[in-house]
Amino acid sequence: MQRDTTKKYYITHSWLGAITGILLFIVAYTGAFSVFGHNELKIWSNEGIRGEVSQDYPAIESLVRQHAKEVGPDYHDHIRIMLPGQSSFTRLLIAFEKETVLEDGSHEHQLIVYNHHPKTLALEDTFKGSLNEWFASGKGDMADFMVTFHADLHLGNPWGLVLTGLLGLTLFASVITGVVIHRKILRELFSFRPLRSLRLLFTDTHKVLGVWGLLFHGTIGFTGAFLGLVLVLLVPAAAFVSFSGDQEKLVETFLPEIEPAITGVAAEPNPGNILSEFRRNNPDVLLIDANIHGWGDESAIMAITTLGGDTLAASETFEVSAVTGEPLQSYSTFGKHDSVTGVILDAMYPLHFGNFGGVFVKVIWSLLGVGTALLAVTGMMIWIERRAYGPEGNLSKATYLRISRFTVGSCMGLVVASLSLFYAQLLLRVEAAEFSYWLGVVFFSSWVVVLAYGLAANNSYLTIKRLFLLCGLLAVGVPVVNALVTGDALPVTLFNGKSITAAVDLTLLLCGVFCVWASLKLPGARPAGDSLAGESVKPNAETI
């Protein structure tokens, strides 16, 4: 390849990273967190689903029958049984749905939802209203907060989704340009010279993180771009091309609704027995929910949604007769649309979130996600180093150092803010409807405080050292506060069936100890004579 072309790719790579580096760090770091959003952090955040939750399906069936009588036949078209502690539900929810056609021809879904305690199954409260109102009424927690922040930076649809989608594209483009400019990619697979100079440390770390995690970074970038842009751009575009702009028709084609052939012959559904039998036959999968269509008719269908089967798709649905339990068909989310497109669409979400193989795969994805975040930071540091202490750039050294302080403040601030969410989750005592708002207040306030500190402090090395210590102390403190507030002390949770709570506490403890250790090891000032030592810094393709 021509040297000039390589240099153009280098400039593209460099500026893409410089402009989006901090945002990429934010999305990648929160992504590493969000991998555990559902259900590990969900369980940690909600005391009610820590430990064993009720899987007494016959008791659940009797509750469904009791409520079915109360709501009347108008609400029997679609009955949802949402099981607690498996994915995102913190209580047993039994919802009865009625679809009404409005004057303008559009459809509205009215719901009556009975919320039961996840362990005792006692009725706690009831909701009545539209589907949208029900979605808006749920109490948020730190798990939801982080997952949503990762998805749209709390900017909502469409701007947040477009932004994260574009960041995915940026990451993908950076991976491609990085490979093109890194001509000695295979020869430098093992180059890591941590003791020569700061710049070499940044450069080698960036290359090693990039090259060994190449497939992961590319996959995350591509799937992230797809997930961010699918609702905002891709669905409308596909509907415009193939369905004359009718988005509803497109969704129905790819995600057809279950419609039993109602015969009018009455028959008693047996959801309790069917779920018990299904659980016995499939002990390794998580049962998320069961949807019964055509309640009371002999043709009623029950669709059981599961996580953790043998396919790559995140979830798999098993349709059975709601009366006899006879298996009818099974499919993944887009599996009903029998095509390569369906397989690809099914793979997007699990490949992005790593939720296709239990906790082990989540740990791998999370660590690789931290690598993506560090890739963004090291890229930023190289960009700043080459300008503040090297021959590149037109601005003053002071300006580049200000950018450096901003980078340190925003990146370390995010880590502190994410840890502060654990404390907010445990200590906030506010109305359920206001919980997410106050989580946001704690999160963004702590972030802004650290950012201001980072900007104000002149010595970034000392700032990083101190903030690492703060992060370490905050992380170590979470299990202590958890034990004081909820009574779930770490040694106890290990032995009383609350293994996920124990694992989260233990992980925080280990991360905290690591941060404290790192803080003690990190230098408090820039090493003397480190500006350009040990490396030629001419910014051409040969030194990239």
Partner: protein, 88 residues
Amino acid sequence: MMDTLLVVVALVSNVATILLWRLQRESQGIIRTLIVVAALLSFIVSCVALSVPYAWTRAPFIALGLLGLSGWLVVFAYPLIVKPTESR
């Protein structure tokens, strides 16, 4: 228990793949070819081991993820363990 054992085998095979790949760079001729083949076989062993608990539809993705992590582990740990000054 069996599944855990297979995951450990996969982890070890992945690290072995990286170390073998590193070793082949310092070798020549038929020895180098043999080491490359051994490294590829080691990666295949990792995939096969993971295919038992995770099925073939998932195992290659997990193995590739593990390969990335093993690469980081070997490259970052090597200079700290083997040579205190510099590694290349």
